[in-house]
């Protein structure tokens, strides 16, 4: 059944799936945002531990979503995986290192006899939530600003910049996107913690943090959106596959996709703001469940803009014709078909994740849950 679909349809489908996984990962960066809030929200050790324990029940889901994002891109668009990871070496290595620090920090932070001590692990978590997200934002920014690579006749990549990917962080657009992600994650993190915790002092600080971080993120968001709507983009001629610069390409893309482009973007932004308003100016705790889907919609809109409507999603500004599109970078028809059958399990996975999430979060987490008489079942 799926095998009868045209190769180009499968390529579109797989860009959708990868975009969805990527969007869910950005939603899950509320964990990273919460990690950076640890150092700025409270000095009370018990309150801090409560925050860590709340985030600690979710960090693996975010981590796993990132790993799946990588795996799905590898399977569906191996030329992107090979070109970007092997080319923009340093940016990816640094991102990965921050996630290594995250992976051990929850478990190790409070454990007795740990030579690194809790403060070191809190710094590790901060690095993951700040530097890690900043670099991820910069890497995603290159979907629009381009990278410095060239492919030979055998599709093997050579990178043409000595910083091997770190140069992405020196573009104002990429940097702004990165900083937006950092502050947005803090906004989401505040809303998640408000939703998940019962702690009077923390609650007030977190509710304020939601709006403060939204305001901090706005200049970067506005710069990114302003640039995106006015910049030249990397357009692909569908007949020849040739890549050329086109004025207002991304604005054209958003307008060409009124629902999944402009629509998702606007609705998503409104939902994020609404989530913050609910959190800060009302007593409701459900802001995260409004801003979270909003975040997913915004990221989907951005990734659709990067990849659909005859656009190179991983453009090379060094050699335009080396740019990657969802058509020239994809796996074969057979592999995409096989992968599509595997992807039929995704709704089932989402269902059990949601079920377990609900079962575990039915009761809010409070200080009594991490008291000493609970033994060692906490971070």
């Amino acid at each position: 059944m799926i095998g009868q679909l045209d190769h180009s349809v499968l390529q579109v489908l797989w860009w959708l799936i990868c975009s969805l996984v990527g969007a869910l990962f950005i939603f899950m960066t509320f964990v990273q945002g919460g990690q950076t809030l640890l150092l700025t929200t409270t000095k009370d050790e018990k309150a801090k531990s409560l925050m860590v324990n709340s985030l600690g029940r979710k960090w693996e889901l975010g981590f796993t979503t990132l790993v799946l994002f990588g795996g799905a891109l590898f399977a569906a668009f191996p030329l992107f995986y090979a070109s970007s990871f092997g080319g923009a070496y340093w940016v990816w290595i640094l991102i990965l290192l921050t996630f290594v620090l995250q992976a051990v920090s929850y478990e190790f932070r409070k454990k007795p006899n740990n030579p690194l001590g809790p403060r070191t692990h809190e710094v590790f978590l901060f690095i993951n939530g700040s530097v890690g997200l900043l670099l991820i934002g910069a890497a995603i920014g290159t979907f629009f600003t381009g990278s410095n690579f060239q492919l030979n006749d055998y599709n093997l990549v050579s990178w043409q910049h000595p910083l091997r990917g770190l140069e992405a962080a020196f573009s104002l657009f990429n940097l702004s996107l990165g900083l937006f992600l950092v502050f947005h994650a803090r906004t989401l993190g505040s809303m998640y913690l408000v939703n998940n915790l019962i702690h009077e002092d923390l609650e007030g600080s977190l509710r304020r943090a939601a709006v403060v971080n939204l305001i901090c993120s706005l200049p970067f968001l506005l710069y990114v959106l302003g640039s995106l709507l006015t910049m030249d983009g990397f357009a692909v001629d569908p007949a020849t596959g040739q890549v050329a610069m086109e004025s207002y390409k991304y604005l054209h893309n958003l307008l060409a996709m009124p629902l999944q482009g402009l629509g998702f973007l606007l609705v998503g932004l409104v939902l994020v703001v609404l989530g913050v308003i609910l959190t800060t100016f009302t007593t409701k705790r459900s802001g995260i469940w409004v801003a979270g889907p909003g975040t997913v919609l915004v990221v989907l809109a951005l990734l659709f803009t990067a990849g659909y409507n005859n656009t190179a999603f991983y453009p090379s500004k060094f050699d335009l014709q080396s740019s990657l599109t969802i058509h020239n970078a994809s796996s074969s028809h057979f592999t995409l078909t096989a992968m599509s059958y595997i992807a039929l399990a995704v709704p089932f996975v989402l269902a059990y994740v949601a079920y377990v999430w609900r079962a575990m979060d039915m009761g809010k987490l409070s200080s009594s849950d991490i008291s000493a008489d609970k033994g060692h079942d906490f971070y």
Binding site: L61, V67, L68, Y81, A82, F85, F108, N114, S332
Partner: protein
Amino acid sequence: MIESFDLTQVNWARAQFALTAMYHWIFVPLTLGLAFLLAFFETIYVRTGLEHWKTITKFWMRLFAVNFAIGVATGIILEFEFGTNWSNYSWMVGDIFGAPLAAEGIFAFFLEATFFAVMFFGWDRVSKRFHLISTWMVAIGSNLSALWILVANGWMQNPVGMAFNPDTARFEMENFWEILFSPVAISKFTHTTSSSFQVAALFVIGISCWFLLKKRHLAVAKRSIVVASVFGLLASGVVAFTGDEGAYTVAQKQPMKLAAIEGIYAGEEGCALCAMGVLNPNMQPGDDDDPYIFAVKLPYVLSILANRDPNSFVPGINDLVYGNPGQGIVGVTDRMDSGKIALDELARYKIARKVGDDQTAEAALALFRQHEDDLGYGFLQKPEEAVPPVALSFYSFRVMVALGTFFPILFIALLFFTMRNKIESQVWLQRLGVLSLFLGYIATQAGWVVAEVGRQPWAIQGLLPVSVARSNLTTATVQTTFFIFLVLFTVLLIAELRIMLKQISIGPEEN
């Protein structure tokens, strides 16, 4: 295809990948096996309602969590290192190799990540039954994860179900089921997981024996030893069976690896197995000397293991490198010539396609197809490059097999004395139990050395040498990341060991 390559850079990339993989493999086997042991302990608790089984479960779960975190940390590096350090590989076989990695994410990682939170934090938040199911889900999820990555590894050792596409210059998948159910993949999965179960059993036994030596937590220790020994003993049966299957598939699909493992240079009919021995360190491919300084040989055994026939011919390194027409073996020397034709014709095809010369393209493609099976050999500079490090393969294999033979004896002894309630007086056995914790890790690391060193120089057996699979990075870049990873992983390992030792010293929270 590749203009030039820096062998030093390739070796640093290999070292970095080996470093990451070996660190990762300190933690993974324990996760794979201990997850099932937790499930067994908790099942007994739920079925009997006896609180002490809950105490046992929670104690081992605490150690599981410390180990799990660092396994995850090293795992993410490993996944992305395929792209960062082996980008040519990622493109040339990504169409096949990426699918199992994505399947691993969808089917396995989410099971682990989702239910780990319930298993660890859900004791008071969900029902007893739901908690037990969650523990089982973590065990199943972690082992499913092993299935997919080992299928991918099995495919690298025995590439099947694919074809080379000259237009995209990559290998593309043609048969998913052939890849999933390849005998090499099945044998890799079953052997690796069952040996991991042994490691976990030895871990539980080692710590329990330490408690016995210290006269602490005696009941917890004895109960843990019984369950772990039964689990380890059952796993040992599977390890032996799948080890035999593995040897057979290696003989059929990777004869050079078998020759290196056995240190055989001149093949023979009715070939003996070297049970133990010392290699002649001066031996080189092409030499006629005796490859062993000392050897205890079991006549005909290697022929039986390799071909299920005591009189069959088992090729040696010299047969495989230089050819043996009498046995119908085409040597690396000839395959290199054939491979270079394949590479030249592929280049001619690409140029012809570029300028629209269909006739030349067709002719070049036809010739390429005749030689494509030898494509990988065309990249080699000299035939001896096809020989993996013999001594490392030979000795690692013997360490693995010797320890693998010892473990079931240990499990039986422990079971015998524990069931007869005499274990507390057997100090020698308790000490041996503690020592065996480390032996389990040595055995499993040695196994991977055999599997991975033994298949060098190939990233994909016969098709893609590591020198071509690499990323286009400078040696200094890879050296820098190698040392970053070395320092980081070592610091984290030290932290993990200190935390683990403290948790062991605290012991179970018995009422």
